[in-house]
């Protein structure tokens, strides 16, 4: 349909496998107002500026038009990803207390051995298979297992929270033109159920702490304040979902990209020390989080000579910024040794990805081990079938035949 707005075309499932030409179109207009009053930004420097602009809110309740996402309907406040400072900072710091520096600097590094063991177990399970689904057999179970261990969630409950998680992810998808009410009702319901589930687990840890993050959340930590039970619930829902819905795409997109670039695959296989740089390039070239759909200006903001009005939906297309030729030389080329690669794959500014160190470590180990074990695999289907989400974009299945 010629009448479709650019954003409608971007979110249209038909373009999921290759949205990049649409992003190029978006960059032509720099700041693109959509018919529904939302604003789309796809150029690197403009996105970076808005990510650091303290007048850009992450709290959807600041939108002028009534919020249609259903968030809040379930009676839960937003998790810190949907809040602004100083509240955002307080909650994020409390969550970070048991995850990273300065209080817990070694936690992620110490997981190196464990992640390697999980990866090797999963690869062991691939032996003898004639056809492997990289998603179901590897890229999904790895981050789920890791985040469950880290948080202290029983992995046996995975089938249950997978359903909730799917519903919640479907709820954040912006799909203009479609009535989102049903999806959002389901998302709210799932979020509530998952929050109660995690809140109950945390409650058990309060009496029997076991060294995981839920235990730390529940038992508190002295002078830096403490979570309320409600905050434990919203924070742990966020971490459990963010901890696996993104990394699965990073790993799958990674394998897909490497299979499409056999010369680079061979190069990485012979020189594993390149992998950290290669993962950065994957985060630029095929980022798991394609866009941030929930920003709102708190004041009229002028950028690129245009004014983004206060209170409108502001959508930052990270994946488009990552392919901006004004920032990256030859941006559509996959170059695992690329230097000066300050991509937007983890966002930037105060909301820059909390779990980035963990995602990096998981992807580096997973990709290194997998390409060593796969031989010369053949891609069964290219492009593969994609997940529905235009926000958390990645293949739903990725079938390969080991060579």
């Amino acid at each position: 349909m010629a009448a479709d707005t650019l954003f409608q075309r971007i979110t249209d499932y038909a373009h999921r496998a290759d949205p990049y030409p649409l992003y190029a179109e978006l960059r032509e207009s720099r700041v693109a107002r959509q018919e529904d009053g939302s604003y789309l930004v796809g150029t690197y420097h403009e996105i970076a500026a808005l990510l650091h602009d303290p007048r850009v809110s992450s709290d959807r309740r600041n939108r002028t038009a009534p919020d249609e996402t259903g968030i809040g309907e379930e009676g839960l406040p937003p998790a810190f990803i949907g809040l602004d400072d100083p509240e955002h900072h307080r909650l994020r710091s409390l969550a970070m207390w048991s995850f990273g520096p300065p209080h817990t600097p070694g936690r992620i590094d110490a997981m190196h051995g464990e992640i390697t063991r999980i990866v090797k177990d999963l690869i062991g399970g691939l032996a003898g298979k004639e056809r492997i689904d990289i998603v179901d057999d590897f890229a999904y179970p790895l981050p789920v297992t890791v985040i469950c261990r880290l948080l202290g969630v029983p992995i046996e409950d995975e089938p249950q929270f997978r359903q909730w998680s799917d519903a919640i992810v479907a709820g954040i998808d912006p799909s203009p033109g479609e009535d989102p009410a049903e999806r959002q009702r389901a998302a709210a319901e799932a979020r509530k159920t998952m929050a109660l589930y995690l809140g109950e687990l945390a409650g058990k840890r309060r009496d029997h702490p076991s060294g995981d993050m839920l235990s730390a959340f529940a038992t508190g930590h002295g002078t830096d304040g403490q979570f309320t039970q409600l905050e434990i619930m919203t924070t742990s829902v966020l971490l459990l979902i963010a901890g696996h819905e993104t990394t699965v795409n990073l790993i799958t997109n990674g394998i897909l990209t490497l299979l499409r670039h056999p010369d680079q695959l061979a190069r990485l296989r012979s020189d594993p020390t390149l992998m950290p740089l290669a993962v950065e390039e994957l985060l630029r070239y095929e980022p798991p989080v394609q866009m941030l759909p929930q920003r709102t200006p708190l004041a009229d903001i002028e950028i690129s000579g245009l004014t983004i009005p206060k209170g409108v939906p502001l959508i930052l297309m990270l994946a488009s910024g990552n392919r901006d030729p004004e920032r990256f030389r030859d941006p559509d080329r996959f170059d695992p040794a690329r230097e000066d690669n300050q991509h937007l794959g983890f966002g930037s500014g105060i909301h820059s990805c909390f779990g980035a160190p963990l995602a990096r470590l998981e992807a580096q180990i997973a990709l290194n081990e997998l390409i060593q074990h796969l031989g010369s695999p053949r891609l069964v289907e290219d492009p593969p079938p994609y997940r529905r989400s235009p926000v958390l974009r990645g293949p739903r299945h990725l079938l390969v035949e080991p060579g």
Partner: protein, 454 residues
Amino acid sequence: MRGEVRDGRIVIVGASLAGLRAAETLREKGFTGSLTLVGEEPQPPYDRPPLSKQVLLGRVPADRTGLPRRRDVEAQWRLGVRATGLDPIGKRVLLADGEEVPFDRLLIATGTRARPWPNPAEAALDGVFTLRTSDEARRLAERLDAGPRRVLVIGAGFTGSEIASACRERGLAVTVAERGPAPLVGALGGTLGALAAKLQRAHGVDLRCGVTVTALEGDGRLTGAQFSDGTHIDADVAVVALGAIRNTEWLAESGLAAGPRGVTCDAGCRAFDMYGIVTDDVFAAGDIARFPHPLFEYQLLSLEHWGNAVAQAEVAAHNMVNPGPRRLPHLTVPAFWSSQFGLNIKSVGVPTFSDQVVIAQGSLKDARLVAVYGYRGRVTAAVSVNQARSLAYYQRLIETAAPFPPAPGAADQIESPVPVPSDVPDPKLLSHGPTVALTGHMPDRRLTVVQPAR
């Protein structure tokens, strides 16, 4: 490419951060000629920021702060020997051991040294320290290990405050003596100075402002200090943190524009001679360089910042091997950071280049904020306390000469957005105007002593 000067002899005097990064950049840019690095200290280049933090806390030994190398620089290292002179006609650097090193192009990166206690006899007392080199950090850390009963820190700038912070973290009793009204005032002005004072006291520092130390006492060993307000303390360690002196004395007879304020150079790091004529074979970078910056009205700035040393060294090295039209200006927005008393302080721009300041985000009460500085109606600096992620926004405001005060609307704007005087020295006096400081020029006396040619 045509016009590049990739061979010949390059000498870098100063083997610290700027010298090393310049050497690496020269090789990166394809310089194939001979490269010599001259350094006064015997050890290879090391990093200074940890010296007043991790090293004093005993977490990292002083000899383990070596700078990571980006690449092999294939240089002759002349370490442990001081440069004593420069012959600009014969193009030779004179060394303390009597040797002479000839060059085609020279980079001056001799940086600064700690300002010593002015009374030599008192400075020589056992227990009196300065902190600039790794050797000094090692000796001070050893003395702190021994558990002194009280440490006196003289001067509450960044170095002095970090030393006091490390001592408190070790549980040592600390007295800080500051001539100004609060710590950090000289660098950040009154508003953040007051916050720093509050935090130092909350961390148990015996902070005494508006006083000077009139005498260090002892007989061989330091035993105490006398203050200008008539009071006296017992102390067995004193750290003199009264700023730095630029290492330009060796250039006194070079005919360069070198003096107490540094070596004056253009935006491309080319040194001026004493008549204000730019040289084409002598460059300067790092703490020693004094250069015009367009964001700050082309005032000649010399910055003692880690990031400036790196960026300026890279520009200098690039320009040393490229012809005029391909040369780059050093336009980096100044930035520095500090950690002390649980605070992470980061700065962009030049806070002292200001007449007003406003708390744009956060609050003094929470010790988490961004203070934005303005001069004559435009944004010239921003300092974050425990909130560094916002600084990129303010850097853009500085780069684009955005109006001050900045537009309201920040999600976490809590305090009244009314600017107050920034309480820094008048920026018009920062560099005494856009003039070249002549050799022997005494800025405070408006006097020029002409050095006779040898």
